[in-house]
Symmetry: D2
Subunit: 97 residues, 4 copies
Amino acid sequence: MKKQKHLHKHEKAVRDLKTAKGQIDAIIRMIEDDRYCIDISTQILAVISLLKKANTKVLKTHIETCIKEAINASEEKTVESKLEELEKTIEYMEKHM
Amino acid sequence: MKKQKHLHKHEKAVRDLKTAKGQIDAIIRMIEDDRYCIDISTQILAVISLLKKANTKVLKTHIETCIKEAINASEEKTVESKLEELEKTIEYMEKHM
Amino acid sequence: MKKQKHLHKHEKAVRDLKTAKGQIDAIIRMIEDDRYCIDISTQILAVISLLKKANTKVLKTHIETCIKEAINASEEKTVESKLEELEKTIEYMEKHM
Amino acid sequence: MKKQKHLHKHEKAVRDLKTAKGQIDAIIRMIEDDRYCIDISTQILAVISLLKKANTKVLKTHIETCIKEAINASEEKTVESKLEELEKTIEYMEKHM
């Protein structure tokens, strides 16, 4: 039951992740069927876009749950560290997006 | 047998794709286990980087096989259209990478 | 005097922005001097990386000043709207980075 | 005169580069005027998108001129090295876009 509750928290991101997995399967089949390289590239780029969306959804949920909860609970140290984490994530996005 | 031959052509990209699929499975399990959002984001961004590499490998193989074959066969029209496709792919990368 | 104070707030980002401007000037001169296209592309991609860094610095400063100030002042509504803005910026980064 | 001819070859990319320069000036003025960080970030991300477009235009022109000329002149070695360069550029894009 607990797993369902956690999945629910990132429900939309999980949907994107599962779709991305299915698309990767389809790309591997395209390669097996010797489909044209350019079409394969186009599909990989589409999965990249989808995963970017999943990442945005995870971070939005993070801001709306973890960060807001720490702010509302006035846990200064926790808020401080969560904001620092967010800065690092934005830096990580810069390098990986 | 034919499938193996085609998989061989994009062997390195297929390896990245299969790794990416495994990583996505692991991310979904992280969410089920209520792992921290920032760690989930970091993993998604790592899969994005891996898929970018897979795309680069597919395009390199395309240049080294399809495009070179058309050039060597002096099929002017085919070369023309393959170079146009490559231009479109570079444009597509601009929007999706 | 006030301008200097504001520039100071985003001092590092301003330095990157001014460097990026200088690099763009240099790229235009490369084109005037008929330098090789691939070298021109490489320079443009370097400016893109630099501007991504500048953006990260602006957002870090924003989190450390505007967002922290609102949290410390317990201005609930302001905090709420600033976190929403941050979500939108992360979404905007997804599309433009 | 020669400079004009070269500028003409990358005319559209030069226009984007000059626009990007002007936008960076405007961003620095925004910072001087203590404009809101999120708006500054949005403008930087817009310049990144514009520079990505400029890069695509440079590479398209490269394919349509340098690469096609080498192919038409049947300079096998030159074609080989230009295709290799293009592969490297695609790899460079993967890391910097």
